[in-house]
Amino acid sequence: MMDTFVMRHLPALLIATPLFAAFLMPLVGNAGRTVRSAWVFLGALLTSAIGLALAWKVLATGTVLYVFGAATTQQALPPDAAFPIRIMFQVDALSALMAVIVSLSSLGITIYSLAAESKQSGLETFYAMLFLLIAGVLGMVVTGDLFNFFVFLEISSLAGAALVAYRVDDGVAVEAGLKYALLSTVGALAVLTAIGILFAQYNALNLASLAARLQFTALDKVALVLLAVPLAMKCGAVPMHFWTPDTYTTAPSSVTAFLVVSSQASLYALFRILFTLYGHLVQFSWATFGWFLIVLGVLSMFIGVTMAIPQKDVKRLMAYHAVSQTGYMLLGVGVGLAVLGNAEALKTYGKTAMAGGLFHIINHAMYKGLLFLTAGAIFLRTGTRNLNRLGGLGHTMPWTMVFFMIGALAIAGVPPFNGFASKLLIYESVFRFSPFLSIIAMVVSILTLASFVKVFHSMFLGPPRAEFAEAREVPAPMFIGMALLALFVVVAGLMPQPFIDHLISPAVDALVDRSGYIAAILGGR
């Protein structure tokens, strides 16, 4: 009985659990360190378990609908109305993929932070904010309501900004936090204006019913720009990437690893809006918007990696690589969008390109999270992030070195790690679309490898240094957190096919199948 109740209310529990964990945190924190740590661990474990269970249910039985306040959670339309009036969560295979990403990485990151942050003060607030961030990101990827999406976007932005500024660090972190909060708020206001424009015309906030009614008037085009540009900014695409290096560098490493996931939730929203809300309209030119994503992607890939190479701060360098890797996802999905009108091309290479792009999202969340966590481990033991000062750490921190190698080889697309699996899909399919783009993608990978070889050399190789004689291996929770992410990187690299068949392909089909998304709400109407 309990089991069915939980299974029926999974989407609501997915948001309620982290919120509950967050708001009780100040109270639980009074009971002492051990209780607080146990509470944090339990909250993260439960949230991840619910996320994975929900994803499993969606992949096994199809789209899960959860209508708040209706007689049954499946009743999308009130009996006497032709359009949905309630807030609902609509979890299809693409949302399920994102839920898996958030679940896996949030678990690894929270366990890591238990040890990494243990010396800091004000940890109740820190963890309350971390759980709010998790709740916001989860909400963004499961909601089927545009205004609800805005609310979750704001929750994740605010919690993210507060976490960036958490270590005041002589004001530098607060400066970065303010920058992030300001940009996020302006972006969110643009999104809200777009929602207002769409609501004023179509009397709907529900994504599916808006998608069914959209006429692509001049105002809709304005709304599209107001939605697409802020979301592209939030996912860190060049030329709107300027906040990423500051934010990612100054945030505590566990938070940085999660901010990567949060920016990918914006990427998800961008795809959702382009494919589901605006796709398949007669006047709509797929090629134009496909190329919009492709150009953003190529710029991000190339400028990101070239900015990364000269960096001296290891986290700043990784932040520019995060921009560069986002480019691959935009490129892969952009190629899919560009050939969406051409059934033949979509079948032969479009879907493969999209699969590569979406697979890269989950792979990136894992290896980039892992890299940021290793950077945090090194900062914890040495107190510096400056590559010119670091060196010889391979002697004292061998496991951190191994994890760094796994992450670095994965980001550079070296087999047999997961970055290779998704990049290979992108290279193959993009080559059939335009060989030139594929070559750029490969060159960027080589530059990425070069950059990480340099980082590896300056951090871990060389004779042991006297000033880092105190450095030793990280405590167990940090080790477990990194090991969890590293395990995924290796497993998904060695056996990518099960992941592609059971997780990525359904997500690609869900993204392309616009009428299916609408029919889940409106039925035959």
Binding site: I85, V151, A161, V168, E175, T185, V186, L189, L192, G196
Partner: protein, 118 residues
């Protein structure tokens, strides 16, 4: 003609407020003034939302003793309330950031608050 103009007036106000807010954010150097500009833009968006929800002659959907059967769905009002609450939280957080910056740097001039680089 006059009523039409009056009905469009909120939208003009929205445009003016947005431009004022943007100008403050772009041209002012004081962090507090930049945040005031952001607040202005928030008010503009809220006004826009409420303005789109207005229907001539419509009444609130309270069925007891309703003076007219023409009712408007108060969705935008609900949205605006939510948006105001979010706006308050955002402003409070950013103003407290500005306070910390003033404590650490001794200034709120955005040109001088530049320890971040690259």
């Amino acid at each position: 003609m006059m009523t039409l103009l009056l009905l469009k007036l909120p939208y003009f106000t929205v445009v003016v407020l947005t431009l004022l807010g943007l100008a403050a954010m772009v041209f002012k150097k004081n962090l507090i003034k930049i945040l005031m500009g952001l607040s202005l833009m928030e008010s503009a968006v809220n006004l826009f939302l409420v303005a789109t929800g207005y229907r001539m002659g419509g009444v609130a959907p309270i069925f007891t003793n309703a003076p007219s059967p023409h009712m408007t769905l108060p969705t935008v009002q609900a949205l605006t309330l939510t948006s105001i609450v979010i706006g308050v939280a955002t402003s409070a957080m950013m103003l407290s950031f500005a306070m910390v910056i003033y404590k650490k740097y001794g200034t709120v001039d955005s040109q001088k608050v530049k320890k971040l680089k690259g």
